[in-house]
Structures are given as C-alpha cells and as structure tokens.
Symmetry: C2
Subunit: 252 residues, 2 copies
C-alpha cells in the first residue's frame, strides 16, 4: 500500500499543535521509540510509515499489534518527517489523557512545571523524572505541549511512563493541602543546607522568568542550587536544575 | 549605512562550520549576548547589525567599542538570522583560540568532553561549568564546534568565560600524568558512594555511545549517577548528567 497524498498531508499537519489537538494524534519518529510504542499495549497506533528495511526487521512486532503499515522510500519518509534527516520509521499515535497518580502525590516527590516553554526542556525533565523514580510531572496549562515532537524525542520514551497532567498549581494545592510545596528560586535556601525536607511538590519555573508569585506564596520553602566561587548572576538551564535538585532530593 | 548584499551573504554563510573556519568568525545573536560581547574588551567585533530601536538604546556602548554598526529593518535582520525569529541584534565576531588554563587543571576539577555532538548540550555544559566554577572544559577534536550558534545561544555567555580548548584525552593525560581521570559511565560506582575523590578530570561521553575504551583505560575510577527505584535502562541527557555530577563534586 502506498502512502496517499492525503495521509502525507495529515501527518505533516501534526507538526502543528492546532492539528494535533484537533485530531488528538501525534507523531513519534525513530526506531527505538516506535518499537517501544508498538510494545506498549495501552497505546493506540494509527499508522506506521517505514522503509522496507525497517519493516523486514520488525514484521513480527507490527503484525502482533495489527497496526496499519505503509512502506515508503527514504525520500518519501523525509518528506513527511519533522526531523532534518528522517529516521527509518515514524508512527502516528492517538493522544492520551495523562492522569494524576494521586496516591503517589501524597507519599512521594512530584514535580510541578510552571510555563516551561521549550519542548526540549520538557522532554528532558520527563527523562529525569523517569530516572529518579518521580511518578508525577504536573504541568501548568501554559507549558509546552506534551505531544510536541521535540518533547517525544528528548524524553526518550519517558513520556509514556510518567504522568504529566495539566493542572493549575492552586488546584493541585487545593487537592493536596497537606503536601508541602517547594519552589526552585535563586533567592531560596541551598538545597544542601535545607533541613527537614519531607516529600512534596517541587516547582520549577519558566526558562527566563522563573517561578510565579503564586508559587512563592504557596511555597513552604524556596530552594536553590548554590553556585561555586564567583559567578555572573547567570542561572542554570531549567532541565539541568531539575536534574540536580532531583538527585539531591533522592541522594543527599 | 545599509547592509550590502555581500555582507548579508557573508553573515548567512557563517551558519556553516566550513565558512566559520575559513573566515575565523562567528555570529552571536540577541540583546544580552551582544551587549556582553561589546563589554568584553578582548573580543574583536567585526560588525553589529541591529534594528534602529536597539541602536537607540545602545548607541553609547557601541560607540565606546568603535564597532561598525549597520541599522536594518526587522525583516532584513530576519533574512540573515539563524534564529526562527530574529532578535533585535546580531554581531559578527572574530573567533579566538581557547587556551588551557594549566594551573587550574593541576589544582581544581576540569571537564573533558568526548565527542559531544549536540551543540545545545555543549553550550549547556559550558553554562554548568560557569555556575560551578569549573575553569576548563576540554573538548575532544570531534566535539561540536564551539562557535556553532546553538552553542553560543545555549551557553548564555559562558562560552566567553570558560576555557574550552581542543585536545586528545591521551595528550591531556601526558601533560598531567598525576591528575586523576574519572569517567562517567553507567557501569561505574555511585558518585554518592565513591570515597576519596581528589580533584581531577571528569570525562563525559557521547550522547548515545558514552565514553570511549581509551577513557575507560585511562580512568582512575568510573563514576555513575544512581537511578532511583525501577528504571528501564535508560540514561540521562549528557548535559543533565554533567550538572548532577558537578553539583555532587562541589557539594556532596
């Protein structure tokens, strides 16, 4: 079966958030991620578009899932890919509603992201959460779209494993009034000096503007990563800061 | 003075490494970084291309440096910009040779990057080094180009402050035979359990292939960031891992 012009157009349109939301679908690209999606029974695959080479190696996996497959030339794949150079395969996948894992919010660390705009940062943070066993990465409604292809790529599969619901911080606090909120801020106490941290919600702010006043008001404490030696009042990338704080929460 | 066609073509050509190397120049974009470059007397500015708005606000700074300035419309700026949406200003700057800060290699922590390919990762790592006061980020010759515009953007000015010379690891070891080498590797000892770390060279590997066999052979010890709870044998992004390890080296 060849890829129809309409299908190609549809797949390309999913590069835009507007069309992803309208169709409730998204595109995942690359061998590793598509094989992982095919192996995850809860995920609904709309179509797999791949080179003959890839299909030969993965016929069984695809057959198991009864997924619709279209074999195309590398050139044709490049035309619908969002990558500079297409990988051997992409899949169109049905979006899912990420549900809050409420039991773990009460007992374990969660992350709350306030208007994190860069999809690469969002994906990298999901990957960090996965590594450090943090089950919930709750996003403010104005964070980057979870199904943006750069989130998918940079999360390395973590977007399938981490709950990433969208919720206002005030609502989250209303739902869990006894769970402490810690806000990451350059004006906070060093994470290495802060005593008595009991599991709670760690708020990470926007790439250039940091956390909101609301987060500061709701926070039990503000935490910072100290710099070392002289420094020019710069800050760390938000994903790097998240990684350092999560490592400190788990192992300090 | 208007921007000549030839100048516009020259600036656009600097998006490619080949032309950056041929002319030994690079492009920096954005208000903050250009103002920082203009304030750094050791940096040679070839030309500043900006909107009238920007020039009005920064006339004095530009005059001080006697830099050549061309005012253009936002549309004209967009045409020569490497960003999706151009900022108000870009500068063409003469490349410099990053020299090893030898005294600090002997007394403090250094980073060594092995074939780190993604310019965003390289820039983010320079920013991390800046934050944690690590003066040398030595790069293997096959790392991303230091003057790639994505390195410049993501380093947030740190590319001006950190020494990032290119050198083979074996050469570095020959030059500093008594300085311990630690290699970041998933098969290493947890950084939080490793005893008696004395300052040395921390080697970070390629995004997908990790460190080389050579690094493993030269290493005094291999270090890892432990994961927490179950995990699917994924890893962390190399810049995030660098951040976590540097924080641990400085504050654990």
């Amino acid at each position: 079966m060849a890829l129809s012009k309409n299908s190609a157009k549809h797949i390309r349109s999913l590069a835009q958030k507007k069309f992803r939301q309208q169709h409730q679908q998204f595109v995942a690209e690359g061998d590793k991620i598509v094989r992982e999606l095919l192996s995850t029974s809860a995920v609904k695959i709309v179509i797999v578009v791949c080179t003959s080479d890839w299909y030969t190696k993965n016929t069984e996996l695809v057959a198991q899932r009864k997924a619709e497959v279209v074999e195309v030339t590398p050139t044709a794949l490049n035309k619908i890919s969002q990558l500079k150079t297409a990988n051997q395969v992409l899949a169109v996948v049905v979006q899912w509603q990420s549900e809050l894992n409420a039991a773990t919010v009460s007992s374990d660390w969660s992350l709350y992201l306030e208007r994190v705009q860069d999809p690469g940062n969002l994906g990298t943070i999901l990957r960090i959460a996965d590594w450090f066993g943090i089950p919930n990465v709750i996003c403010s409604p104005d964070c980057a779209d979870l199904f943006n292809s750069k989130v998918i790529q940079s999360s390395m599969g973590a977007f399938m494993r981490i709950a990433a619901p969208r919720l206002e911080l005030a609502q989250l606090h209303q739902q869990f009034p006894d769970i402490p909120i810690y806000a990451s801020s350059l004006s906070g106490t060093s994470i290495y000096e802060q005593k008595q941290l009991k599991p709670g919600i760690l708020v990470m702010g926007n790439e250039s503007r940091g956390i909101t006043e609301e987060a500061q008001t709701l926070a039990t404490a503000e935490l910072k990563i100290p710099s070392y030696g002289k420094h020019d009042m710069e800050s760390l990338n938000v994903a790097v800061a998240t990684g350092i704080l999560c490592a400190a929460l788990r192992f300090k």
